[in-house]
């Protein structure tokens, strides 16, 4: 979906159970025809995403997580993207923080960025299906994100810029 000023990037592998939480989030945003957003899906974040990021005032990264410190009662967390420093590059992919720094440095990106990390539990099989707990977390995250976007329109963001 294109046209909105908030870019939602869902990433992960839908063929690896709960790793597909990010792409599934985006699929439901598209199906729900959310207003004011553009969406992208990918297996992982890579350097060229910096080019697209530079075109938007706000980015929301959506990913699965197994990080216990991120887990909440609702099964997700929504936080500003942190700094890239101290985060090692692992594999061909980038962390949201690294990608944002790349976009700022190379393409003068000014976007504010958040990460919506949704707790997943099952990753070890090839299966295109979310676990029941991850599905519940996904629904909570969708509700939260939709309401948050309604409370924080990009026009308000731009007026503060």
């Amino acid at each position: 979906m294109n046209g909105g000023l908030t870019l939602i990037i869902g990433y992960g592998n839908p063929g690896r159970q709960d790793d597909g939480l990010g792409p599934e989030f985006v699929r439901r945003v598209d199906d729900g025809n959310w207003q004011g957003v553009s969406t992208q899906v990918n297996y992982q974040l890579t350097v060229e995403d910096a080019v697209d990021i530079a075109r938007y005032p706000r980015i929301i990264f959506v990913d699965a997580t197994i990080e216990p410190s991120i887990a909440t009662e609702q099964g997700f967390s929504f936080t500003p993207v942190g700094e890239a420093s101290g985060q090692p590059f692992a594999s061909h992919s980038l962390t949201p923080g690294s990608l944002m720094e790349l976009a700022r440095t190379l393409f003068d990106a000014r976007a504010e960025a958040y990460i919506l990390a949704i707790s997943g539990y099952e990753f070890d099989q090839f299966e295109e299906k979310l676990s029941a707990r991850a599905e519940a977390n996904l629904l909570n995250a969708l509700d939260y994100c939709r309401q948050w976007l309604q409370r924080h329109p990009v026009s308000e963001l731009e007026s503060h810029a």
């Binding site: 297996y43 060229e48 080019v51 590059f89 594999s91």
Partner: protein
């Protein structure tokens, strides 16, 4: 930990390499390296996952296998399914669209590896501080080069988008053909920047080549070992990344086999299982399991092919081959030079195809006499990729075997790791992060794809284990620097 006790140092995972990998460095009682092994925690079960699926689904589903090279699996699977639906020769439009997709994929994959993963090592040296060996330092010191890398990657992705229909989960290649052609608008959009891409690809070759030539004392002694090499080649011996026959050469450049129909690969190659690794060890049957191992990928292709059929890349190829003085180049670090020559070749091919009116043709798909078995080989970014399927009368997959490029290079990567470990770790009382980075540089040169696209946040801890001679874990850490224990 007692310093004079035989031990094993484990490094897990190998950073800046795809997926999960672990290196164990086996030290004897004098802290000398006796052996080093690359353990790849390969994900098992894909073959089982694919069983029962309809053959029409396979080219799309296989993209779930890998987050880095889904397009290569997409094309290889479609090519295998061509055989099953009885199509041995695609229409010109279909074959050229697939080739365009394939060249876009190899270009963007090779570019990502070089600029993102390897250039920090080459530009700043293996001994540079870890905080300096990353893409941000490249941006800081070489901003134009970094930007070119990102935009070249972006260009390759655009080629994929216009040929596969999507950047990921593409559906462009289907059994017997392709489901779209290239519109004039898409063609013109890609033509705008293609000459700039050629220019930037030439720049990238200079970086890789100059590094090799200016650091010969290092490069010649860094994981430099003789081996056989294998790839597809065209009937006239040219580099052909999409289709051809198998050719293997030995360390002296002598032909082991040539123009072998890849559908007969089981007559020429075998896979060996070793107790300590999940990943198999392929070898050339006629050479046996000890001497029959070989390398694949960009370096191997530069050593097997007779020429490249695009002028600029062929000129670079000739310089590369003259550097080897008529024999295969065996230096692991020459993978980088080779990889950039291939980028130039791919961009030249992209330009050539964009000017070909067949891409606007409408004859997209053929059907033939149904078969029960399909075998395909393509030259993927990391090397030869084999897909082998059998289907039943209900079009359901009953058998699937994939031999990915990283598996072909299994023995070679272990040789590289052992070679570097012996040179840089032997006799050291403490093992520093710099020493370990040398091992990673050797592994990274092969650009292994470890068949693991799961990347959930928090799932990539760095675990270090020290085991005594009996295999008992005597120390364990989670930080790179904590390896310094003796």
């Amino acid at each position: 930990m007692e310093s004079r006790k035989a031990r094993i140092v484990e490094i897990e995972p190998v950073t800046r390499v795809e997926g999960h990998g672990k290196v164990t460095v086996h030290l004897d009682e004098h802290n000398n390296v006796s052996e080093a092994r690359l353990h790849i925690v390969e994900f098992r079960g894909f073959e089982r996952f694919i069983r029962g699926r309809l053959l029409w689904e396979v080219p799309v589903i296989v993209q779930r296998l890998c987050g880095i090279c889904p397009v290569s699996h997409h094309i290889a699977a479609a090519k295998a399914m061509d055989m099953i639906v009885g199509v041995d020769q695609l229409t010109p439009t279909a074959e050229k669209m697939r080739r365009l997709m394939h060249y876009g994929q190899i270009m963007q994959s090779n570019v990502l590896h070089f600029f993102h993963l390897s250039s920090p090592d080459l530009l700043f040296g293996f001994d540079a501080a870890a905080k300096k060996r990353n893409i941000f330092e490249v941006i800081k010191q070489f901003p134009d080069l970094a930007k070119q890398g990102v935009l070249m990657r972006k260009y390759g992705q655009e080629v994929i988008l216009h040929t596969a229909g999507k950047k990921i989960h593409g559906t462009g290649a289907i059994p017997g053909g392709i489901n779209k052609n290239l519109s004039i608008q898409e063609r013109d959009a890609l033509l705008i920047d293609v000459d700039m891409m050629i220019s930037w690809a030439q720049n990238a070759i200079q970086v890789a080549k100059n590094y090799t030539l200016e650091h010969l004392p290092l490069v010649e002694h860094f994981a430099n070992f003789k081996s056989s090499h294998m790839s597809l080649v065209r009937e006239d011996g040219a580099l052909d990344l999409y289709h051809g026959n198998l050719r293997a050469v030995d360390a002296a450049g002598n032909i082991i086999f040539d123009q072998i129909d890849y559908r007969d690969f089981n007559d020429y190659l075998m896979e060996e299982v070793r107790s300590w690794s999940y990943m198999k060890f392929p070898f050339i049957k006629s050479r046996g399991n000890v001497d029959g191992w070989y390398r694949v990928g960009p370096l191997a292709r530069m050593n097997t092919v007779s020429f490249i059929d695009t002028p600029l890349a062929n000129k670079e190829f000739e310089e590369f081959r003259s550097f080897g003085q008529g024999k295969p180049v065996s230096m692991t670090l020459a993978y980088h030079w080779s990889r950039m020559i291939e980028v130039l070749h791919c961009v030249e091919k992209i330009k050539e195809l964009l000017h070909d009116p067949d891409l606007q043709g409408t004859d997209l798909r053929l059907k033939g006499e149904r078969r029960e078995e399909g075998i395909a080989v393509i030259e993927a970014p990391r090397g030869s990729l084999f897909h082998h399927y059998k289907v039943n009368e209900h079009d359901q997959v009953t058998y699937c075997n994939l031999i990915v490029s990283t598996t072909h290079n299994n023995t070679a990567m272990n040789r590289a790791v052992t070679d570097v470990a012996k040179k840089y770790l032997s006799g050291q009382k403490t093992i520093t992060e710099k020493m370990l980075n040398h091992i990673e540089v050797a592994v990274r040169a092969y650009d292994p794809c470890l068949s693991c696209a799961t990347h959930a946040l928090g799932q990539m801890p760095l675990v270090v284990e020290v085991l005594d001679v009996e295999g008992k874990v005597v120390d364990r850490g989670s930080q790179y620097a904590e390896l310094e224990k003796g």
